[in-house]
């Protein structure tokens, strides 16, 4: 399998914030999940000028935690990413197909593809193979046509555009929190705080979510990645 997870954006546009003393390597070469990961928390929200994506980092194989620092947010194009939940194998496979098709499409188009297009490619494959897949996806990103966008693609292969979304086993614990606290037109900092807090809350309640809180802020100009370590989560429970 092609290791698309190792791909990193090049140039100045990609800013990484890893706190000092972080126990994980800055160049994080850890392999993506190699086993089933049904337990997950994914939170994504739109704000003024972009989107924030957030995920926990626990990958479990039944009772055993196979990876405590995994990446569940994968890149499919310069400004388009996907949050993966369900079977790690299935979602990785889908992602690498879309990565391939979208890359070809972008070359043919001669410009950046839209988030809409990426979400549609995910939908086609999720829907057509629904009997064999266990994949809940949230596709999000930025394009010049419609700005920041989020598309939720749950189990059956529906595709819905939403202002904010949560998925994975942990999402059930925080949907009320999100409905109560999400506001359209938040600033970048507000939105990041909101999304990170939601993820941290889910981690605190859901046994199958845990580890750190990884986040990605996608705007017109750049993609910023950040991580909050497991012992510094913004909840006190």
């Amino acid at each position: 399998m092609m290791d698309f997870m190792a791909q990193r954006p090049v140039g100045q546009e990609f800013v990484r914030h890893v706190e000092d003393g972080c126990p994980y390597r800055a160049d994080d070469v850890m392999k993506p999940e190699q086993a089933v990961s049904t337990g997950t928390t994914l939170v994504v929200a739109e704000f003024d000028g972009g989107v924030v994506m957030c995920a926990d980092t626990r990958t479990s194989t039944g009772q055993y935690c196979a990876n405590r620092a995994s990446r569940k947010i994968s890149k499919v194009h310069d400004r388009i990413f996907v949050c993966r939940s369900g079977s790690a194998a299935d979602t990785q496979a889908l992602t690498s197909f879309v990565l391939h098709y979208l890359g070809q499409h972008a070359v043919e188009l001669g410009k950046q593809p839209t988030v809409n297009t990426a979400a549609n490619l995910f939908k086609i494959m999720a829907y057509n193979n629904k009997d064999h897949l266990l994949a809940g996806l949230i596709v999000a990103g930025y394009d010049d046509k419609k700005g920041g966008q989020i598309y939720s693609i749950p189990l059956g292969g529906t595709r819905v555009r939403v202002p904010y979304a949560a998925d994975g086993s942990g999402s059930g614990y925080i949907k009320g929190f999100m409905d109560a606290n999400y506001r359209p037109g938040m600033s970048k900092a507000e939105c990041l705080e909101f999304v990170q807090k939601a993820t941290a809350l889910a981690i605190s309640r859901d046994g199958s979510s845990g580890g750190m809180v990884r986040s990605l802020v996608i705007t017109k100009d750049k993609v910023e990645e950040a991580v909050i370590e497991g012992n510094k989560l913004p909840v006190d429970l």
Binding site: H105, E108, T114, T117, A119, N120, L121, K145
Partner: protein
């Protein structure tokens, strides 16, 4: 036969000694024999016009069309063999829907034109098929930006992007007229162009030819940026005005 250069015009798979493929050139001749068709990229959209010869007095008006819709915001006007062109129209429609199904966005006009170019070109490569005897004028208006664009796709597979062009019998005269019109008014709108294209088609019509029916369609604000036939009343008014002006011009001469 050898050395005379003759006998090289029967197959598209054989070059002549001076590097030509005659069958493809003959396909071009089929286009030159057809009634004139033209299309103009205006400020606010695209206008198509075609001179359709009436083969019979009993032919029902508004049938046997030469301008076709491709998708909601794209149309195609034909010069040459209309039967051949229907394959191109059909291909254009399926390319447009396939693209929409896969990528959930309207196909960019450049891409659609280029794919039709490839399709036409494929028919100049194999002995078992003959080239298309038609040239297509493809006009689109972008869904978001409302920017009009126009392409000409030839039997040899070449694709050209134009602000305005004409094909068929009267193409030279028509192109000269369009150039004059655009030189006088580069900000031409589709509504304004209506009478002018009617005038051009009437002017380049050869009296020796059969009677003709004027076909006009457009993609502009008046049609809600969708490809549509110009309403009959509006077409007739434009045509009457065009004929009146043409008569006045002839009297002046």
């Amino acid at each position: 036969m050898a050395g005379t250069g003759a006998g090289y015009d029967l197959s598209v798979t054989t070059f002549s000694p001076d590097g030509r493929v005659f069958q493809v050139e003959y396909a071009g001749k089929a286009v030159e024999n057809s009634g004139t068709t033209l299309a103009i990229c205006c400020k606010d959209g695209v206008v198509f016009a075609a001179e359709k010869f009436l083969l019979s007095k009993m032919l029902v008006h508004g049938t046997a069309k030469r301008i076709f819709p491709v998708h909601r915001r794209a149309g195609m006007s034909i010069a040459g063999m209309v039967a051949d062109a229907r394959q191109i129209v059909s291909r254009a429609r399926s390319e447009a829907t396939q693209f929409m199904n896969a990528y959930c966005e309207e196909i960019p006009p450049e891409l659609l034109a280029e794919r039709l170019g490839l399709f036409m070109h494929a028919y100049t490569l194999y002995w078992s098929v003959r080239p298309f005897g038609c040239t297509a004028l493809l006009g689109c208006v972008d869904e978001e930006t409302k920017k009009p664009s126009l392409f000409c796709i030839e039997p040899n597979g070449m694709v050209y992007k134009y602000t305005a062009t004409a094909e068929g019998k009267g193409k030279q005269a028509a192109k000269t007229e369009i150039e004059k019109v655009l030189a006088n008014n580069p900000e031409l709108t589709c509504e304004q162009a209506l009478m002018l294209v009617a005038k051009i088609i009437h002017k380049v019509h050869d009296e020796k030819d059969k009677d003709f029916e004027l076909e006009i369609s457009w993609i502009c604000p008046a049609s809600n940026y969708e490809h549509a036939q110009v309403p009959v009343e509006q077409r007739k008014a434009a045509e009457a005005e065009a004929e009146r002006i043409l008569e006045a011009e002839q009297e002046d001469d």
